[in-house]
């Protein structure tokens, strides 16, 4: 029962909130959809912390895609042994994780100590930082604990199949039963992060401007009548 709630109900609730939340936010709050950058106030620390955090987190994301979405059988078929995979994943993952954490630490320190940045910090931001830090710290702790204290934990036999099963619409909560608590906690905190995601400044991730690489430099657009001083005519009155 507990397994079902944690590993079936919660994930689907999260996915629903994540998707509908974004749709809703995009529909009603395009204006609020921004990075809310604070570089204008301070850029010395930001220039170290922000790239460290963002590139770190991008690598972490890639690692998670590799670890969770790609079945172990595929990498083995590609000739990568489980041990080799494990070593590479742990080394790169830990490195990226620590970069992310260091970047985050710099950013939080900056946020707290730079007057204007702190004044511009909302309750929402603080809550988001808390959850984000928790996810990263627990994730790192799980990896470190499993590899230093134990001899590594092969999440690709438990967590990964469960993760995929959620998306196959054939959830297998039992796989998660014997997963070490830190890994469970990491997964749960990540679910929480995804729940609040659409309502925080993190939304900027979904609009990462990759289209910039292909669009023409200068954008031309026609006048939008709604923006001007002339009141727009109603639909049935338009020419």
């Amino acid at each position: 029962m507990k397994e079902t709630v944690l590993w079936v109900v919660l994930p689907y609730v999260t996915i629903t909130i994540f998707v509908l939340g974004h749709v809703w936010r995009y529909r009603y709050d395009k204006f609020g959809w921004t990075t809310r950058s604070s570089q204008l106030y301070e850029s010395r620390l930001l220039r170290i912390g922000s790239p460290l955090f963002h590139f770190g987190v991008l690598f972490v994301l890639l690692g998670h895609i590799g670890g969770l979405a790609i079945p172990a059988s595929w990498t083995e078929a590609a000739g990568i042994s489980e041990d080799a995979y494990h070593v590479v994943a742990v080394v790169i993952g830990t490195l990226a994780g620590f970069c992310t954490l260091a970047g985050l630490a710099i950013l939080i320190y900056r946020r707290r100590t730079t007057g204007p940045v702190f004044s511009a910090t909302t309750v929402n931001d603080k809550m988001m930082y808390l959850v984000l830090t928790a996810v990263i710290v627990i994730g790192l702790a799980a990896t470190v604990a499993a590899n230093v204290v134990d001899h590594g934990y092969n999440y690709r036999e438990t967590v990964s199949p469960w993760f995929r099963s959620v998306f196959y619409l054939n959830p297998a909560p039992d796989l998660m039963r014997d997963v070490p608590p830190l890994f469970q906690l990491h997964a749960l905190s990540a679910l929480l992060l995804f729940c609040i995601w659409p309502f925080t400044r993190l939304v900027h991730m979904l609009t990462a401007p990759v289209g910039y690489l292909t669009r023409p430099y200068i954008v031309y657009r026609s006048r939008d009548a709604r923006m001007g001083a002339l009141p727009p005519r109603r639909g049935w009155e338009r020419p």
Binding site: Y41, E42, S119, V123, A225, R234
Partner: protein
Amino acid sequence: MRVMAQMAMVMNLDKCIGCHTCSVTCKQAWTNRTGVEYVWFNNVETRPGQGYPRRYEDQEQWRGGWTLNRRGRLSLKAGGRFRKLLTIFANPKMPGMDDYYQPWTYDYETLTSAPLQEHTPVARPKSLLTGKDMKITWSANWDDDLGGSPQHIEKDVLVRDLSDKVKAEFDKTFMFYLPRICEHCLNPSCAASCPSGAIYKRTEDGIVLVDQDRCRGWRMCVTGCPYKKMYFNHRTGKAEKCTFCFPRVEVGIPTVCSETCVGRLRYIGLVLYDADKVLEAASTPDDTGLYEAQREVFLDPSDPRVVAAAEAAGIHRDWIEAAQRSPVYALINTYKVALPLHPEYRTMPMVWYIPPLSPVVDIVRDTGHDAENAGNLFAAIETLRIPVEYLAELFTAGDTKPVEAVLRRLAAMRSYMRDINLGRDADESIPGRVGMTGELMYDMYRLLALAKYEERYVIPTAHEEQAHKLEELATECSLDYEGGPGMGGSGPFGESSGGAAPIAVENFHMLRQRQTSDSPVDPADKHTRVNLLNWDGKGTPSGLFPPEPGGPTGNPPADSGAAETEPKP
């Protein structure tokens, strides 16, 4: 030939008295809000001087605008698309608040609420960013009227490029004012720098705008604009810029800065140009060739072939007629007295300037000569390197010839008109010496000295039918707008959320809220903050508090537990 219309401006610098009325009225209309306290869409700088933001013209430092790459192709000076995306997490070339200035207000309340005391209470300056006491050390026009020079004059970017001879004489100082707005460039590097594609040039009138719903706050445009006329609203996290007062221009009235200009030195009109030639012109190999190249992009609106092409391009008859009467086109191409500001940035700026003759006139008069005599003035223009070289750095990438030509025309007009005004016979040889006829010169004089409101501002109204293409009818529901979530400037996430409200409505509400709220800075009074996300806590957006029985809504009393309105996570 692809004809497009561009709304453009010319400013006659001789007439600017540096009163800053334009800046103040513009600020009142557009940037009188939290988040843009430090922003002046229109600013007036004293030259020589550093400008606003400080030393913005130093493109080796700020890397704004375009440059030619090794193959001679036009590329963004701050780096292309890949570079932009790689540095997106921390823009390496963004001016900080200190390059503009720390905005402040004064603690006026102590003036009225201080207890009886021996000394007069003082209104201390408070930072608008932190709410703390601050020391004022710089502003948008700190070196106004050469205040603080020679300490500051050395920092003028253009002084670096002047010849040593001129630098040595620089203490024989001169001065003029340079009002600046966004140039609404034909080849805007701000738009090209925007990763989200939120900055666009309007096809109808060429006004460059930021789509507030698509801007994601990547800040690349701030670097991209060499004139530093793209600003970051630190409260909403979006870029903002001069709008050429498009809600006014659309209904045929001039921008606020022009309307209120005390010197009546601004001209607004349409220019037709060939969009196919813009890129080629912007890629002109020599910096000094850019002025001519840009002039050649403009099309003669009275040429029947241009008219035919313009009609084929869907430009309305009244717009073409307005382009034919355009004072801007006349000053740029007929009288050839207007010059672009820093053409070497290669953005093809569309606010042009008539360089000031007054520094020359002043020097001639100060040395006891007749400052209305064409011969004296011509000789002075030839020998006085100080204003001429400086003006050339500003308007023609250092080439003094076009500047001299313009100054000679202005000087010629001055002495030609003196004869006429004094009832003497006009000396037709004077216009001849600058390649004009007496009639042309008189027309130019009329436009520069006497032109009435309707002649200075030739602005055709926007066409409603142009705006909404027919296919949009099916997709756009008028209910999206009426009573939409943005009405009154406050959506589900507060001030910086919700749909776009009509600009006028939004500004009105914000202005009222700001002026009726009690504190200069929002975050200092956390207990009045009502929103989780990013409503900035000022004023009382309607619907947030229940209406007080029998009275208008206002701020709740301090002890009413306003904090409880903050939704719990």
